[in-house]
Chain length 123, copies 4
């Protein structure tokens, strides 16, 4: 359900955070739902549990998860709203990459066409 790109320079825990925020934003995870357990998710993604734990910890600090004793992590009631904040980071990531590309001499139309290719990738 979450797609990782291990070869990418984007930190794995960031990709996990983004993936989970995305599931919330898209309504596939609703407030009150159980989040997958750290160990389960780690083994499914073939990733170090510490890495998943870090993503969960930060999502908890953002108010998207709630840690309930003995029950694991639950999607917080305020998650949908809280997820918005994370989206801003992602938008800025795109903006920074675009800025770098333009400074590096990529013509603006080429940037747009790259983007368009991404848009069509998987519907």
């Amino acid at each position: 359900m979450i797609q990782l790109d291990l070869a990418s320079t984007v930190p794995i825990y960031d990709q996990i955070k983004a993936g989970l925020r995305g599931l919330v934003a898209k309504g596939l995870l609703k407030p009150g739902d159980d989040a997958p357990s750290i160990r389960a998710l780690a083994s499914r993604l073939k990733v170090n549990p510490n890495t998943v734990a870090r993503a969960y910890r930060e999502l908890t600090m953002e108010g998207i998860f709630e840690a309930r004793r003995g029950e694991g992590n639950v999607i917080s009631p305020a998650a949908v709203k809280a997820a918005r904040g994370g989206l801003e980071d992602l938008r800025q990531g795109v903006a920074e990459a675009a800025r770098m590309a333009r400074r590096g001499g990529v013509p603006w139309p080429d940037i747009l066409s790259s983007l368009d290719k991404v848009r069509k990738e998987e519907p």
Copy 2:
């Protein structure tokens, strides 16, 4: 002439490489021209000479510069063509950031509007 963003997570030497590639791509540096000396550029950018040296070394390996002993760096005849490769990397950087953002649940129109803000930043 080259703009650095020291707060960015993008390594300084990468920003320098992108800037120089951009100058070549835009025709402000033509094959045969002297590149600024490492020390001169370093002091202009207020950066350690080693950092500039690393950027130059990698540009040399990419075939954009030619280092001549004791004479400094010269833009290689093949620079314009070689610079194209670098542009592709930058485009892919934008594409990857966009992919991450979409996975994270950022609505596509928001991505486009972020981009548009960048477009208007500096004429």
Copy 3:
């Protein structure tokens, strides 16, 4: 396992690269194996970690190593093939030295005898 000649004019990081490529070429390091950590190798060779890091970075760019964040360097699946390219450079180094010597008036048999002395150096 890697022999350095600190008095040589050949840069240390180049000697390290050659040594590691040699270990791959001889099969002592196989794809999937862990490369020694930068710090460990640096202290074993009594050399600055930065110097080893540079060698590793370049080997990564050549496709011989794969650097995984926080996990160290791993011999790439394509390492054996990629190592071939490096061997070619070394052969050309010998060829160039021989060319220089002949131009300088060294009789060809003397070149061969020098070489033969090297062959017998260490079994």
Copy 4:
């Protein structure tokens, strides 16, 4: 008469020294002959006169040239014998390159075949 390889990593002044020593060793320059003037040789080789001057200075120190006031440089009577010393450096250059190549995993027969290709290059 002297062949330079400007792209080589071998210092130009070294190539010039080797070339002149070679001319002496081959008998094309005999004791008592005038050496070409620094400026003439520099312009013929399209090289900085300082570079040629350095080569001449070192050849003088080796006893191959004699600087005579107002007459320029003359091949010394002891030149033929003195040239031998320089040959030793060149032989060691080949030896060192071969050593590096072997450490880097080049099979010995490949080293020999590279050398053989050089031998056939220009008769």
